[in-house]
């Protein structure tokens, strides 16, 4: 099973990279390097260490923003899901946040918080938080009533019900919200570096584009995608370890 899914993943990677290589060789556009050129550029950046300094910059707002979004997103989501009043109060805010055109908000953020870390963290949070909150809230609201009844009949306190029933039952949907939120957070981090001040990976992208060093530009974009994929896989592993029985779906009867 594990080998088969690994094989499939490898196959799809080969297909994608192969298509990239071919498209680069045709070439589709003079600004589109081949896969191998991009990898070469990535190696160069890795060996001269510039990619690590860049990530040192980029990961700061990303980690802070994702951390805040996960912590408060799940917290607020639980609250909204458990209490109708908070649902009324908060749900609209996050629905608007999710729909808002972020690019239009960035100038306002910059006016309010300057061009430093704070604004970038905000961008990451605006991208990541809504989906985490909304998923968590809907998962909590949809906790199977029969399991909650079971808990109450065996004398669970409200705290027990939340910790031992509601959260584990909601965890698959909470985790899928986290996955979506974190991918959005990655986008937000790069977007903020492109739109606010060029630092970190955003700086590599902007700078290499300005000097027409396209392989480096694509190498930077590629590296951030790889990082995001690795992180999401890690999250999936964590979920499987924490809630083993959940990954086969629910037993309803």
């Amino acid at each position: 099973m594990i080998n088969r899914s690994l094989g499939l993943k490898l196959l799809s990677a080969i297909l994608v990279f192969g298509a990239w290589e071919i498209a680069g060789r045709i070439p589709v556009s003079f600004a589109f390097p081949t896969f191998l050129e991009s990898m070469q550029a990535l190696f160069v950046m890795t060996f001269d260490g510039s990619i690590f300094t860049a990530y040192g910059e980029t990961l700061k707002p990303l980690a802070i923003g994702v951390g805040i979004s996960a912590f408060f997103g799940i917290g607020i989501g639980l609250w909204v899901g458990l209490s109708e009043r908070f649902d009324w109060l908060f749900s609209p805010i996050f629905i608007v946040m999710q729909a808002a055109p972020l690019a239009a908000l960035i100038p306002i953020l910059v006016m309010a918080y300057g061009i430093g870390l704070t604004s970038k963290v905000f961008v990451v949070c605006i991208m990541a938080m809504p989906v985490i909150v909304l998923n968590t809230a809907s998962a909590v609201r949809n906790t199977p009533a029969n399991i909650k009844d079971m808990g109450r009949s065996f004398l669970a306190s409200d705290r027990d019900i939340i910790l031992k029933i509601v959260i584990p039952a909601a965890s698959p949907v909470i985790f899928s919200g986290l996955r979506l939120g974190i991918s959005a957070g990655f986008i937000g981090a790069i977007l903020s570096e492109l739109k606010i001040t060029p630092t970190g990976v955003g700086d590599i992208i902007t700078y290499s584009r300005s000097i027409a060093d396209y392989p480096s530009m694509y190498a930077a974009i590629f590296s951030i995608i790889v990082l995001a994929v690795l992180f999401l896989n890690l999250l999936e592993q964590i979920e499987n370890v924490l809630f083993e029985g959940n990954n086969r779906g629910y037993v309803s009867d």
Binding site: I147, F154, L155, G245, G249
Partner: protein, 276 residues
């Protein structure tokens, strides 16, 4: 039939009058007083009264949707009745309590927990230490025939096995009143018969009160000290039957006893009106 009803009434009167004088005689563990329950427009129960004698098994028999689960949930303290009240040992029920354990019709297992954790979940919520609660749970896992499946998750079990997990969970908390909502419905016929015999044994050996919902007339007559027949919605008790002669006899002979067969026929005669 009317003569049977007569006996019941007489019994509960003697019970009221001689409760102190005759402690060995049936005393009431759970009493349902004029309970009604409406779900919005739907009247599920209407002015239902019934006494459940201590240390005995009472079956609730009635057509699907007549409110049996609703009644058990009200007794469990999971639902508020619209009118009326429940008393357990003379105390009014206001919510779930340690004196009652529930076996759910839809099993209500935790999908993310293995059999061991599911069975010991009731004890876990009561704050029993891990090693102790797992010892107790192990005993009941063995009793319901699930040894070797302690580490399995509910999705890896058959319907009947899941149901037995729910049964073991309820037994392990050692409650005085057991509320069993069709506990054998998904169990195969062989196991069902075995469980029915175990049930009789359990009722005989432990001084617990069993409230047993079933669809099977034969099962009800086989295991019950008292059978309450419920009318379709809005539900009331239409009659209470107390089999008497074969209760003391050997388990093997019950199904051959004339009274057993008579009662099965009588119940069928009164229920068939509601089956089209």
């Amino acid at each position: 039939m009317s003569y049977l009803k007569g006996t019941t009434v007489v019994m509960s009167q003697t019970n009221d009058a001689f409760a102190k004088a005759e402690p060995l005689d049936v005393d009431t563990a759970v009493s349902v007083r004029g309970v009604s329950k409406n779900y919005g427009e739907v009247e599920a129960l209407k002015n239902l009264s019934l006494d459940f004698p201590r240390g005995q098994l009472t079956s609730l028999l009635g057509p699907s949707g007549c409110g049996k689960t609703t009644l058990l949930k009200i007794i469990a303290g999971l639902l508020e009745p619209t009118a009326g009240e429940i008393e357990i040992d003379g105390k009014k029920v206001t919510g779930p309590g340690p004196d009652r354990a529930f076996v759910f019709q839809d099993f209500a297992l935790l999908p993310w927990a293995n059999v061991m954790r599911n069975v010991s979940f009731g004890l876990e919520l009561r704050g029993v230490a891990k090693s102790e609660r797992e010892d107790i749970a192990q005993k009941y896992i063995d009793n319901v025939g699930l040894s070797g499946f302690e580490k399995a998750y509910p999705h890896e079990l058959s319907g009947g096995m899941r149901q037995r997990v729910g049964l073991a969970r309820a037994l392990s908390v050692d409650a005085q009143v057991l509320l069993l909502d069709e506990p054998f419905s998904a169990v195969d016929e062989q196991n069902r018969r075995k469980f029915q015999e175990d049930m009789l044994e359990l009722v005989r050996n432990e001084n617990k009160t069993f409230l047993f919902v079933t669809h099977s007339i034969e099962e009800a007559v086989y295991v019950s000290d008292q059978i309450a027949i419920l009318l379709p919605r809005p539900s009331r008790v239409s009659e209470v039957i107390r089999p008497s002669s074969f209760r003391g006899t050997n388990v093997e002979n019950i199904r051959r006893s004339p009274e057993y067969l008579d009662i099965v026929d009588q119940i069928w005669a009164s229920l068939r009106n509601y089956v089209e």
